[in-house]
Symmetry: C2
DNA sequence: TTTATCTATCGTAATATTACGATACAAGTG
DNA sequence: CACTTGTATCGTAATATTACGATAGATAAA
């Protein structure tokens, strides 16, 4: 156990939960806020956030896995930015749920 | 480790993350949807959801801890319902973040 | 080429989450 | 009183998450 039984729920319920889970850590909220302001390399976020480089890299990986951000390689750096289409889709899904919880899933 | 360093982030960021985390499981999404339709005792949810009674009780505990629902004892049963004020506050906070991620935290 | 920079990943550890069955407790029912 | 019902909690187990330091690998700079 320890893993969610996602097979037993609807796609919308799973998508919604997955997106909410991605937002479910203050560091990832902070990262998103910074990425909304400007594109960042991992090092920028390391300077801002009180967490180690490896930990921030993990959080970036989680946001990337959820489809919310994307990274573009620029030399030795990786430039992260919001992935607008998926981010908008996620926002719409969550907004719909908050406004009309029964019509969305 | 394994626990979030909440001390290092703002109250809003932590609140937002905590609320999102509560929504971060499809079973809890499903429970919320049912509770929005009608008040439920734990047993009602056990019939609807493909999870055991103890597991559902745990999810209810998580939603209660996040302040989203409340339970009222009625004899041997506990009648759960949305805690409207906190739920509205949580929705507002999340909505604000989704619309204006920088103005809210 | 050597060196510096940047990031992902590995290894590790602590803690949290998810899930289930079993059980205990409380409150009605007979 | 004994019995049923409903739920929370305990015990347990598997897996996930969070966090860090160390390191490897890739690229840019000297």
């Amino acid at each position: 156990m320890g893993s969610s039984k996602t097979i037993l729920f609807s796609n919308s319920q799973n998508q919604l939960a997955e997106f909410a889970k991605a937002l479910g850590h203050p560091a990832r909220i902070a990262i998103l806020q910074e990425l909304i302001k400007r594109k960042c390399i991992c090092g920028d976020l390391v300077e801002i956030l009180p967490l180690s480089q490896s930990t921030i890299s993990q959080h970036l990986k989680a946001l990337k896995a959820a489809g919310i951000i994307e990274g573009e390689i620029e030399g030795t750096k990786v430039c992260y930015q919001i992935k607008e289409d998926s981010w908008n889709m996620a926002k719409t899904l969550l907004n719909t749920f908050l406004k009309n919880p029964l019509d969305c899933c």
